[in-house]
Symmetry: D2
Subunit: 397 residues, 4 copies
């Protein structure tokens, strides 16, 4: 047994070897790379038995020293500055793309063509065209493929989905979502790839808005049209010009007739990672706020005569009957943001192991593509001042 392994174990593991291992290749070692890697570590014992046992095989990143240290820190066998080496590594069966937006298309398609299952961070493309190209190319290969919309895997959000699906909440009339951050309030905050159209496609829209657009589709259904405004409050920052939006606001009508609002901004003082939505239905209402991610506010219109105590409930989503909680701690002992990735990647591994579809709970590449169509429509609506119909392309048969 290698003394360099933290968790290596030997003979006692014999019978769990019936659970096959699966080799993971990662692109990116920063924010998303860390979050996904941590999740791969935790999957093996949080879910029991796990669908597959992830093995951290190969990690790619831009800086040779940094990626090598990331490999040592997180336990990847190999590191490289050339993502093609990961994509072509025969020990890799899953390619996890946590790179910047302009690195989504080519590596993901190459990995799929090399027979790897793929998961790619959002937004799937900088434009709907790019995302469509990615989806189309991957679809031809037949691998399992997922867009990394991790909010679908928050227990409180999954509980909302359950209550919508089983009729508890009735029909949706209003969906109001926002994603506010503060990191661009200071005009001296320097420019970066996230603030350029070339690398990022859009600003708050593609970065933050994509999440709430995906939740809108997941929870309410397809939007029919959007009207919108965008703004760039600080156009020149140290190190570069900003040519993407700092913020957008949109109104949306859903095919179901429901109305909605979508907002994202990077200049909201006091908001760290304030992703919040509120849904009003014919039978009640729910409110979720990521900064209190283990809670859900739920109002159900009372039907009990004499119940004089109606009001929004603060539900601590941590009971064994709540989504994913059979794997966690006794109620009231809260989980963290990182654990949404544990659920998300387990979903992927489980789909691979049992050849199940990614959807409807996981976001497919088509979901990823459709989100970018809505992003593009919001930009067009903001530019033209005209309400934009949403329409999607499909794959030719």
């Amino acid at each position: 047994m290698s003394s360099s392994s933290f968790f290596t174990q030997g003979d006692a593991r014999a019978d769990v070897d019936e659970v096959p291992s699966i080799g993971i290749g990662m692109l990116g070692y920063a924010f998303m790379g860390r979050a996904h890697t941590n999740a791969f570590h935790k999957i093996g014992y949080t879910f029991w038995p796990p669908a597959l046992r992830p093995r951290l095989v190969h990690i790619a990143g831009r800086n040779a020293d940094a990626v090598a240290e990331a490999a040592r820190r997180y336990g990847y066998d190999k590191s490289t500055t050339d993502w093609r080496e990961v994509v072509n590594d025969p020990d890799v069966q899953v390619f996890d793309n946590g790179g910047p937006n302009d690195q989504h298309l080519e590596p993901t398609v190459a990995a799929a063509r090399a027979g790897k299952h793929v998961i790619c961070e959002k937004p799937l493309g900088r434009t709907a065209d790019e995302a469509f190209e990615l989806w189309s190319a991957v679809a031809e290969t037949g691998v399992k493929a997922m867009t990394a919309f991790n909010y679908r895997f928050f227990p409180a959000i999954r509980l909302v989905k359950e209550m919508l699906d089983d009729g508890t909440l009735g029909e949706v009339r209003h969906f109001r979502a926002r994603y506010h951050q503060e990191w661009l309030v200071d005009p001296e905050t320097p420019a970066s790839w996230r603030l350029t159209k070339e690398a990022a496609g859009s600003g708050a829209l593609g970065d933050l808005g994509a999440h709430i657009i995906d939740l809108a589709r997941y929870l309410v259904g397809e939007p029919e049209s959007v009207s919108a405004n965008t703004a760039t409050f600080v156009e020149d920052r140290p190190g570069g010009h900003v040519d993407v939006d700092d913020a957008f606001d949109a109104v949306v009508r859903f095919e179901s007739g429901a109305l909605g609002t979508l907002e994202a901004t990077r200049v909201a003082p006091g908001r760290k990672n304030h992703m919040r939505f509120e849904i009003s239905t014919t039978k009640g209402a729910v409110i979720f706020d990521q900064e209190r991610m283990n809670e859900l506010k739920v109002h159900l219109i009372g039907t009990t005569p004499g119940d004089h105590a109606q009001g929004f409930r603060t539900v601590l989503v941590s009971e064994t009957y709540h989504p994913y909680w059979e794997n966690w701690w006794p109620h009231g002992h809260m989980i963290g943001w990182e654990d949404s990735f544990v659920h998300e990647l387990e979903h992927l591994l489980s789909a691979i192991r049992h050849d199940k579809p990614i959807g409807p709970h996981g976001a497919t590449l088509e979901d990823g593509y459709r989100c970018t169509e809505i992003c593009d429509a919001i930009l067009r609506a903001a530019d033209t001042g005209e309400r934009q119909k949403i329409s999607y392309r499909g794959l030719s048969a």
Copy 2:
């Protein structure tokens, strides 16, 4: 001294009789009639010395028995089913129009022409044309005239205004306001004048939206354009057809460059009188929620090195240095919704007594008119799908 005065009782009051009394005529005895009347009762001793001592002289309403009982209950000398009798009553100096929207124009103009000071409930008109006509006609008479946007007189909202005016908050980048109620959730809730275009002009828009539109103008400045959606979820109710909006959502750009969202609905379960706004600025943020009307959430970007405790503060707006609170109770002993009317009507009486302008803190008839222009623009935007520029008419010199 008239024995019909509430606040002039016998010899001990001799020297306060230097404070003149003023005769009040009221149209409407229901919700707004009650709220305004209660405020007139409280003004005389809450503010000390009061600007004027209100005398409740004459009240008009549709039902003879009901208005007579209202007069007895609230202490009006006289009651009538014909508002012209109030308007022409020589003992009346202030005409307070709390009638339905289709009763705003004619009685208010008649009262002004009879030389009465006027205050009229919002929306000033069912359309911008009607509101403009009201404003124009009253302006020619030279009486004091006010639109009853009582939210301007909530201490917490006035504190926001102070913090914007004195630079504490810097420049506004986002204004997000909503006004949600639930009373139309049940499709069996019957139709009423509020649900007809004929009597009300619009639905949630003019009733609820008008308040947040006025606050947008009061706190942020003039909107440049709007895009919007409206919806009527239940078109036929017991007793009639609904031809106004149950809900609207709009995005707004201000002349200053700030972005905003405006939402109102009558079908949000669990929301009783949920008027909430959130303002993000270059220096901080504030959040107000009418259901916790004595509180203000305030975030100010920290400037103290070593301050590791930054975050939204829950400010109990009840200190003697807070707006209006020198007239109230020791801090922490909260006031109620009704007290916004005490402040509002004192503002009117004080303007009358000292011949001061109604604005900028009180809403003028021009403010009332401009609000209806924005309402009309929202309806046009929703109809056409095209962003609408906001423009206003002025009075000819």
Copy 3:
């Protein structure tokens, strides 16, 4: 008709004159004097028809100019610096004692002996002996008599009482109450009568603790024993020595077997008027916080299979079916602290008019006396370190 009546104005009132008026005499024009007077003003039209129409007849206070101005401001016919003049005024039928603690015994007893109905602020006496003497002497006269524990008249607290009485909440196991203020945090805050044993009897205990002790008895039942600590953090202040408690903490066992904690302090920074209690029962829990006085947090153990949304509800206590709310505004339009006095004093007037008992919802003088016994026991427990049994004296037959 007396021209000194607020609510009897001319012919239109003819038939409501069947509602008799009743003359009010007040001791004190400061905090409690203002709050009670405001309530008398509002009773006449808030409750309709009112039980009796209060007439503000006579007010007494220490400073001649101040009390005269208070009379003019609030509409009392007469003012005096000698409370005996109020007590003996033939136009006074109700004597309302809002004076300092050392002015409770003699004026209240004198008023009762003069045949006036009485209401006296809490604590009823500086000691249990004094309170017992007050109760005994008044009881002999047969007038209606009430202790001014106004928290019993908060709608949210009355709702708790209803839910305890009708079995919704089951049996109480824990009662945890606190009353925190901040006004003595600064050691430079000067001394006053409230900080002397001579005038006040005790400090935070009698002033703040009395309220939560009364609520404990009202909601849970009789305490069996107490153990306690007290502290005086600042013993010398500008203007005098402090010989009462700044704070106390106590643990209590109720006769029912329930446990409780009681806390009060005047040195809790950030707490303005933080009176909060939490009750845990066999079927649920409730939480009340005075600073959000229109809300009640309610948890009811779920009995519906498949209800995955259990949690504390934030109940906005403002529905027409909630206590007292048939007299107020549409739901969500909140009332203020002052309105607890409107309810309290209407309770007294209604008891007088219809010859009903003050209890169990109003606090009787026996309730006022019993509260002081518990206060005394807390002081003894703090002094001796020994748990004190609670026992009460009764009136001899």
Copy 4:
């Protein structure tokens, strides 16, 4: 390289082998066993470089099948039903005792005598005598030894400690702590070892109360005396008699003169893991609630003239300058309850690696012992009704 490893790594790990590994032996595979094991997994990459790389060597538990499965699941090399095998395993350098309370003394002492560093769950002993014996015996061996009071390692609580230590908060006047759970509300919840004096020592007191007693000592200092009540609401449950407390309440005076209250219960409906404390000081106040563990409410008395926005701040404790957060995610991306153990066990490993003391931030065995003295004093106070002085024994030189 073993293909059975999840995270196996090979050559790229060569240079991190400069960080020595350390063998972990665990007693217990249920709640605490899982939580500690998960933390050992995460330490290696969360802290970088880690002080030591934990290797999961040996785990003991009562049921042979269950402990074997736990070993496979969590990656221990070996499992056993005899804790002596763990204690005597030469590959084990740290013995982590997560067993029930009656399994704290003997295994922990044996491990220390075998030269293993030890960490033991709270309460250290069922009685102060037992805890003292444990501490004394271990102290003679010179190993690193820690009591597992994990709340000291919550970032928000550590931030409170910093603000107390650096003078930001001034002197403490009130410490009010509670730990409420609900799992014994239902009288049909069966008996278990936790409900017997024989196995657990006490009930809510030792299980929940121990945490807040330790925090009282950590944050405020030594208590001088306690008075208390206890109650057992359901004495007979399916499967056995309950001879420990369901709940206790205590009042405490600290040596500093501060006052405090301590409460714990297992019969508070709606409370899952409600550990909450509130500290009032001469300069402000803080409030922590475990169910919102990433937040801290902070009030600091304002010193800025013109600051009209004072109030409790909701601080999201997730900035890089907050305790432990340099190891975690971007602000607003919250961590979970489990991560307190990551911090706690890293503290232990770091103390071992660098031969640093466990205190003052980690809880020593003396801290663990002192906590049990206070627990015993609370039981005596409850039994006798007499305030109990707190006194501690020390080790003879």
